[in-house]
Symmetry: C2
Subunit: 133 residues, 2 copies
């Protein structure tokens, strides 16, 4: 049912080696940098496939552009309001199991999952005095 193609291996490899939560176009460019042939359509289709398989995470940045990363350990994202840089944030900071339990207890929702996107000002931009990038 699912076939292993050159393109799928390529895109998964790029995602695994990308620590900056790339969008589809960035993945596409990294493929080109490797002199590998892929189309942007295939990049989109493959990234969505990885998300459905649970091998990648998808979230939207402040410009509503879809960002992806290879799912390793669960973590949240910290986005700089000035320069847009995205950093990972360890989920253990937030006692997520306890939180999910609390939510399930206090609401009628089941099968809860969440992604926390935190906005702030990164060290570099704070030093620069909050200028626009």
């Amino acid at each position: 049912m699912q076939r292993e193609t050159r393109q799928r291996r390529l895109i998964m490899e790029i995602l695994l080696n990308s620590m900056d939560h790339p969008d589809a176009l960035t993945v596409f460019r990294r493929a080109q940098d490797k002199k590998a042939k892929v189309s942007i359509g295939t990049v989109y289709r493959t990234l969505e496939l990885l998300v459905k398989e649970g091998k990648a995470l998808k979230f939207y940045d402040a410009n509503a552009i879809a960002r992806y990363d290879a799912k390793t350990d669960f973590h949240h994202h910290l986005i700089c309001k000035i320069c847009g840089k995205v950093e990972d944030l360890d989920v253990s900071l937030f006692k997520s199991d306890q939180m999910i339990k609390e939510i399930e207890e206090k609401t009628h929702f089941k099968d809860i999952e969440y992604h926390l996107t935190i906005y702030g000002i990164c060290e570099d931009c704070a030093k620069r005095g909050n200028r626009e990038s």
Copy 2:
């Protein structure tokens, strides 16, 4: 510098009376229901203005469509993975002050704010047996 127009009053009123976090098109339709004349472009411009003024919140739903609500008390959102319904969730569930303090201590970010979008399955959809809407 800022002028009070019929359209701005209208859109703010619609947003204040909408408890379902409408997108721009929904706000536009509600204006039409009131037999009020506005263009979709003005709706977008005005909603963005309200966000910049801090009078409205903006976030993206699971389909990357911008949703708005009049900013009253700070709260999070609970979105049903099946039917897409959006509910409010009291922020007090999550000890947000403590969490922000923790984040500021453990990262180098400043001026932190966050919006938590939680996905789950609502009571109605759970009863229906998780069918697609």
